[in-house]
Amino acid sequence: MYPLIAAASGSSVLVARALEFFTFKYDFARDALIASILVGALCGVVGVFLVLRGLSLLGDAAGHATLPGLAVAFILTGGLAAPALLLGALTSAFLASVTVGVLSRGARSRPDASIGIVLSVFFGAGTVLLTYIQRTATTSYAGLDSMLLGNVAGISSGQLLSIVVAAIVLIGGVALTYRHLLVSTFDSVFAASIGVRTRLIHYALLATLSVTIVVSVQAVGVVLVSAMLITPASAALFLSSRLERVLAFAGLIGAVSGALGAFVSYLGEGVATGPAIVLAASSFFLVCMIFGPRNGLARRWFNQRSRSTRQEA
C-alpha cells in the first residue's frame, strides 16, 4: 500500500488516505474517530444548557481552569499518571465553576466579570506551574503540552474509555432528568415552587460541565473546548423551538463535526484535530444562522420582504 501512495501524487494521495481512514486499518485512527464523535456529541448536549442559562463563557473559564489542576497533579505524582491528571483537572475545573457562581452571587460582581476574573486567575496559575514544570521536570511533559491543543490521534485506550463512559453516563443523565433540567432552566423560581431541587441541579450541571471539559480537553484542548460547548448548541437553537429537538440537533452537529474534524486531520497530516473539529462546527453554525427555520437570517429577510409587499398591496 505504501509504495502505491508514494507513487501517486496530488489528489490521489488524499483519496488513498481517505480510503485508508474508512477501512480503519489503524487502531489509532478508529479510536480518534470514536473519541471525536463522542466528545462532539457530549459537548453539544451539555452546551445547550450552558447557553440557555446565560453561562456560555463558563465553559471557557472551566476549560482554562483545568491547567493548574493538571500541573499540580503532574508535580505531585511526578509524571503522567493519567488518572491523577484527570482528577486534578476535574477538581480545578469544578472549583473554578463554583467560584464563578459564588463571586457573581455574593459580592455582586457581574457574572461575565466573574468569569473573566476566574479564567485569568486559574489560567495564570496554570501557566506559572507549567513553566516551573518545564524548568525542573526530568520526565517528559509532552502529555501536558498536548492538553493545550488536544491530541486525539495520540489518545490512549484509558482516555478513550473515560470518554465513552462520560458520554454514556452524562447524556443518559440528561435524558433521565430532562423535565427537571427543562423547568429549572426555563423558570427556576417556579421549578423550586413545585419542589424541584434547583440548587442541586445547578451543582450537578457544574459537575457535568467539569467532567465534560476534562474528557474533551484530551481531544480538542483547553483553548478550544469552550467553542465545542457553545457552537453546536447555538447552531441547534436556530433549528427548532422545542428543547428536546435542540438537544438532539446539538448532539448531532457536535458528533458530525467531530467525525469531520477527525477525518480532515487524518487526511492532511499535521492538521490538529481540535481546530479541525471546531472549524467544522463553526461551518454548521454559519449555515444554521443563515438558513435556520427559527430566526435564521434568510427567514427573517423573507418575512420582512413579504410583510412590506403586503403593506404595499
Partner: protein
C-alpha cells in the same frame, strides 16, 4: 389534621431580609378557603417577596406557613405559584404546550410519564384561557397578554388549592385582564383561595373580596370595604396616595 376545616393559608411571623436589610417584618395572617385576595402596597413594600417566601423559593429569617393544615413539602404541593411575566426568557425553545405541561411536573416525580389524564388536564387548561389555537407556537411569538395566559394555564393545570400570583395584570391588554379575572373568580367559586399581587388601586376593590395591605409590615387585612379606607391607604402609601372626589384612590407615580 387536627382541625375539621383548617384555613387555606396561614402565615405566622414571616420575616425576610436582603443583605440583613429587612424587607418584610413579622407578617401574620390567615385566609379561609374560597377567597379572592388582593395583595396591595407601594413599590418595594415586599409584595413579591412575601409570595416567594410563602412558596419557599426565598430564604426566610423566621416564619411559619401552613396550607390546609399541612407544612413543608406537603404544603408546597397544594400551592400554585404564578411568577411575573418578566421573570423568564421568552426566547426559550419551548411551545405553549410545553410550558403548560410543566404544571403537571410536580405530580409526576422524576421518571413518571404523562398519563392520558395529565394530557386532558393540560388541554382543558389551555382551552380555558383561550389558547388552543396557539398551543404549538413558540412562546416568544405570543403577545404580552397571551404570555400571561400561558402562565395562568400552567397554574390551572397544577390543580392546586391555593394560588399565589405575582402581578398577573402587568403589560396585559384589557381583554386578557378581564379573562384572567373571570378565571380567578371561577377558582374562588370552586373553593380555591387566590392571592394576587396587584398595584392598581382603581380596580382592586372591584376585583377582590379581601385586601391584604402591605408596606414591609402588614398594615391591614380583611374584607375589602373594611381595609380599603383612606386611613389605611394613607398609612401604607404616605404622600404617594391621591384621593379623588368620588372616593376613589390612585397612586402617584
Amino acid at each position: 389534621m387536627s382541625d375539621v376545616n383548617p384555613p387555606a393559608l396561614s402565615v405566622r411571623d414571616l420575616t425576610v431580609s436582603y443583605d440583613s436589610e429587612p424587607v418584610l417584618e413579622g407578617v401574620s395572617f390567615t385566609v379561609g378557603t374560597g377567597r379572592l385576595v388582593g395583595v396591595v402596597g407601594p413599590n418595594g413594600a415586599g409584595k413579591s417577596t412575601m409570595i416567594k417566601a410563602i412558596v419557599g423559593t426565598l430564604p426566610v429569617d423566621s416564619g411559619d406557613v401552613e396550607v390546609l393544615g399541612e407544612r413543608g413539602k406537603k404544603a408546597l404541593r397544594k400551592i400554585t405559584y404564578v411568577p411575573q411575566r418578566g421573570s423568564v426568557d421568552w426566547d426559550f425553545p419551548v411551545t405553549v404546550l410545553d410550558v403548560v405541561n410543566q404544571g403537571r411536573y410536580g405530580h409526576l416525580g422524576l421518571l413518571g410519564r404523562m398519563t392520558a389524564d395529565d394530557r386532558r388536564v393540560v388541554a382543558d387548561a389551555i382551552s380555558k384561557v383561550g389558547l388552543q389555537d396557539l398551543a404549538r407556537r413558540q412562546i416568544g411569538e405570543l403577545s404580552g397578554g397571551q404570555q400571561q395566559r400561558v402562565f395562568l394555564a400552567r397554574a390551572l393545570a397544577q390543580r392546586g388549592d391555593v394560588y399565589l400570583m405575582d402581578e398577573p395584570f402587568v403589560g396585559v391588554d384589557a381583554a386578557t385582564e378581564s379573562a384572567i379575572v373571570e378565571v380567578l373568580r371561577e377558582l374562588r367559586d370552586s373553593g380555591r383561595t387566590v392571592l394576587v399581587v396587584h398595584h392598581d388601586l382603581a380596580t382592586a376593590p372591584e376585583y377582590f373580596d379581601s385586601i391584604l395591605l402591605l408596606n414591609k409590615e402588614l398594615i391591614a387585612f380583611g374584607d375589602t370595604h373594611d381595609v380599603f379606607t383612606r386611613d389605611h391607604l394613607q398609612h401604607a402609601y404616605g404622600g404617594r396616595l391621591a384621593i379623588f372626589e368620588d372616593g376613589g384612590f390612585a397612586t402617584l407615580a
